[in-house]
């Protein structure tokens, strides 16, 4: 059996290949790409939230294509039905039996574009799929193949006619990242690369779903010391105690935080998690789950600044205490 450090080395190697591949089409956004890979290895779901045109869908697709696996893209619209997500049983006249036709969620990587444009009913259809990795139609449960990752995008502007994601659903996303505008140099490079053909067309897979499954298993074995666990709990507990937030982080958020930290540690070739891993993931993992109080909002305090304050105040526990 390989040693843990050898295992995490292989994880880091493969992840490096994925990242390099994705960065062929998303220039200058290494951190965002890395965060996406962290979510993938932590077996979570990713919410990409940004203004139109910064490459959300491109990132999703690039990540999906880098992995030799099944990919589905669902364009969320107000008239999208839950059955479009989950699938539907259709009566086959020739066999005289009901046949299940899988919906868009039956893939290793599901890209949900502009998820906030679907009705809450449709959005909630994703709940069971994301949380339990299974679909139940007509009392029959279908398990989703691993790896299973939902990459949803949403546009924070043009909110008219949209249905903001309910708290319960936001909590199911392991992380939310924003891509942001590229720096000028990256934008110039983009112009060159994206001239006539889409760079996505040339993107080849660098790994497959089996290897991803193996990597996820290795990530699950990364050691989280008692000190780091206490630190993660202290951070999420602080979000529940601060008066600047009316909704703090859930226990699931703590779980997600630690899982993401394990993936980050593995990507950095460590088989143990550091407090720094946890702290680095506070913003992407926690921010989308929190609601600021009215006072904080009026005072101009954003979730990001509130979380930064919390992370600065919560001390890393002393291992000897």
């Amino acid at each position: 059996m390989e040693s843990p450090s050898t295992d995490v080395d292989s994880v880091a190697r493969v992840a490096g290949r994925i990242q390099a591949n994705v960065e062929k089409v998303i220039e200058g956004k290494g951190e965002v790409v890395a965060a996406s890979i962290v979510v993938l290895l932590a077996e979570g779901h990713l919410l990409l939230e940004d203004v139109p045109g910064v490459g959300k869908t491109m990132l999703s697709k690039a990540l999906a294509r880098s992995i030799d696996s099944t990919v589905r893209r669902i364009q969320f619209t107000p008239d999208l039905l839950p059955s479009d997500i989950t699938g539907v049983s259709v009566y086959n006249q020739s066999t005289r039996e009901f046949e299940f036709r899988p919906g868009g969620v039956f893939a290793n990587i599901v890209i949900g574009d502009e998820i906030n444009r679907a009705s809450p009913k449709t959005q909630s259809a994703l709940l069971e799929c994301m949380g339990e990795r299974q679909v139940t139609v007509d009392n029959v449960t279908y398990h989703l193949e691993s790896p299973f990752m939902v990459i949803a995008t949403q546009n924070p502007v043009e909110m008219e006619g949209t249905y903001p994601l309910p708290e319960a659903q936001r909590d199911r996303f392991l992380a939310r990242v924003s891509i942001g505008y590229p720096v000028p140099a990256a934008e110039i490079a983009m112009l060159a690369n994206h001239g006539e053909v889409s760079p996505l067309d040339d993107l080849e897979p660098v790994t497959d779903s089996a290897e991803i499954r193996k990597m996820c298993a290795i990530v699950g074995q990364v050691h989280v010391s008692d000190t780091v666990q206490r630190y993660a709990v202290a951070l999420t507990a602080a979000t529940r105690q601060t008066p600047e937030l009316v909704l703090g982080a859930s226990p699931r958020a703590t779980l997600h935080l630690v899982r993401a930290a394990k993936a980050r540690a593995a990507l950095q070739r460590r088989d143990y998690v550091l407090p720094d891993d946890v702290r680095a993931l506070v913003q992407p993992v926690l921010a989308h789950r929190l609601l600021p109080s009215a006072e904080a909002a009026i005072g101009g305090r954003t979730i990001a600044t509130i979380l930064e304050g919390i992370a600065a105040q919560v001390p890393v526990p002393d291992p000897s205490s």
Partner: protein
Amino acid sequence: MTQPRLSERRGPFGPTLLLGVLAVVTTWAALTAWRGFVELPGTYLRPLAVLAALLAVSGAALRWLGMPRWLTALTQTVITVLVVTRQITGSLLPTGDTVTAIWHALETSVDSARQYAAPIGDQVPPVWPLLLVAGAAVLLLVETLACTLRKVPAAGLGLLAVYALPSGVLDGGPDVWSFVGAAGGFLVLLHLDSRDHLLRWGRTVGPDEDTLWRGNPMREAMRAGAGRIGVGATAIALVIPAFLPTVGVNVLDLGSGGGNGDIRIRKPIADMRRDLERGRDLPLIQVRTDDPAPSYLRVSVLNRYTGDEWSSGDRDVARDDRADGVVARPPGLSSEVRTTEYDYDVSITEDFDSTWLPTQYPVAAVDAPGDWRFDPATMDFLAADDDLDTRELDYTMTALQPDFGTQREFFRDSAADDVSEEVLQLPGAVPPIVRNLARDVTGGAVSDYERALLLQRWFRQDGGFTYDLTRAPEGTGNQTLEGFLARNGRVGYCEQFASAMAVMARTLGIPARVAVGFLEPDQVGDGLWEYSSHDLHAWPELYFAGSGWVRFEPTPSGRVADVPAYTRVPVDGGSDDPRGGPTAASSAAPGATATVAPSTGPGRRPDIERDGGSATSADEGGIPTPLLVGGLVVLVLLLLGGAAIGGPATIRARARRHRLAGSPDEVWSEVRATALDLGRGWPDGRSPREAGRLLLDHLGAPSDPTAERPRTGADAAPEAADALERLVLAVERSRYARSGAVATQERTTLAEDGALVVAALEAGVSRRARRQARWIPISIWRRPDAR
């Protein structure tokens, strides 16, 4: 860089304070066992309570603040000295005058403790300063051991010492409730300490940690172990003695009287001197007799000589040998010796408390109320009942006055089987001077009787001895005798004279022992005579075939005018001039009545171990002040010396060496301490990696401070930056990786990296900052393991 937030590192103050309070309360409870020494215990217990509170609060606060142990101990020592100074002198600051005043108070206390028996009242010089100083020392010692040094079991020794004192000195020992209180407190201390040790093994998993006593297997195990053993042992200590048979005779337990005047005789030898030095000459015994010249009154006999002391040895007291009438004829007294009987009605005052019954020797009959019994070999009378003593006792006796005539037929050499071996035994280490002098002095004698007479004459007349109670050495052991018999010595009181003659007689093969009792009484009325406290005396008794045990009187005429009639015979061509001999020194016991310089008489404690002539005051039933005061002085000196020698720079340097040779965490602690000392601050509560990033900016180049390079930063000291990175990795691995993970760095490399980083940090500051860090290293004021 953020300043450290110590408050985030500390635990709650409550448990820290609780431990300190528990320690001082336990000690204070133990110190209540000394109540028996004084009539007003509040005189020392009240200030000690104040001191206890101050020590508990100050100690807890300093420990909570993470101060180093030596500083905590030093601060508490200063507090102790201030409180003691304030209480004794009224002044807070210890100046030269106050030190003198304290010393004087202690001297007075020691004298008082030696002269008066417990409980000492307010009519005599106070003894509470002694108790205060000793108690303060114990409080400081126990608090330091139990709380600052976390050596709770060792603190138990301090508590034990507190108990040993009254157990050995006070009649009846210390109060049982003091013991129960202190023992209970000590057990709780042990419990807390053991719990703390157990919890250091790791965090418990499962139930809420706040449920201190419920459902936690570790704590349950602890309660079942240490707790039950401790409580069980305490219970056994309290209960078992009640069922054990005890000897109902207090052998050689002559103690002094209370502080208000009574004389206690429990342990014959030890207390005599103090009673003689007592200012007041207390009437103790009145006798009405038809004897025209009542003789000595004997209280006890000391048979056994160990080389360190005279003691009564074993007593064979049969149930039939009661003092209820005629008693057996004294051993060895020939029936041919004519005797005259005199009746005595004895009346003892309330001031004389003894478990030995004063009688004449030889005596024909004794009739005393109560269960008094006699030992046929020595004919001394002992109380067989624990509650029986001589206070206000009235009894009768019939004294035998033998008439040995002027011939020597009753003073034949004794045969080997006439007496028990004990009265001839000498320890192997009897100084040669004793044997040589005995041989020289008795060179011309032809019989044991003549040798005895020559010895007596030598002590009283020829030897150049001086009776001086104030200059007399302590004790009766070999060393004391050696000094006493040396040419430049020869100053002593009855204890040494009696002991020396008895030992010299034994070296010559003459059975000898020491008796303790009273000199001849003063006549206070018609047929009424009185023995007083200044009449206490010791003398040797020698055995001859025919006469049995007879009294000799080696104590010079300055103290004892006459010698027994049967010793006034010419020897070796001369005659013994009973009135000759050495002059009594001015220090003779006060009072018109010859205050017997009690030689080894039925003094205080016969079984006291003495170290030659340097017996402590404890030997005399007082408080062993020198020991306690000395202990305190040593403690203070050690603390002050430690602070002076191991100054901050030394402590800091030692800590650096220790940490750099230790684990990654310890090396990291040294980096932190260096940063703090250099005024860089430390981001407490941050991860090693984050702290390391911040440190990078402060690294300087120790060996190449070229102008082109930035003064500090990773570029200034690339090697140190690499070392810092390796160090951070090592710390992270040690803290966060799986236990048992393979270390990536050798310890030597780690130490080198640590030293490199430390040197780079020092190179990154000004020379002044480095000097300040060296001489005022603030890191020693904070817990070194704080991160």
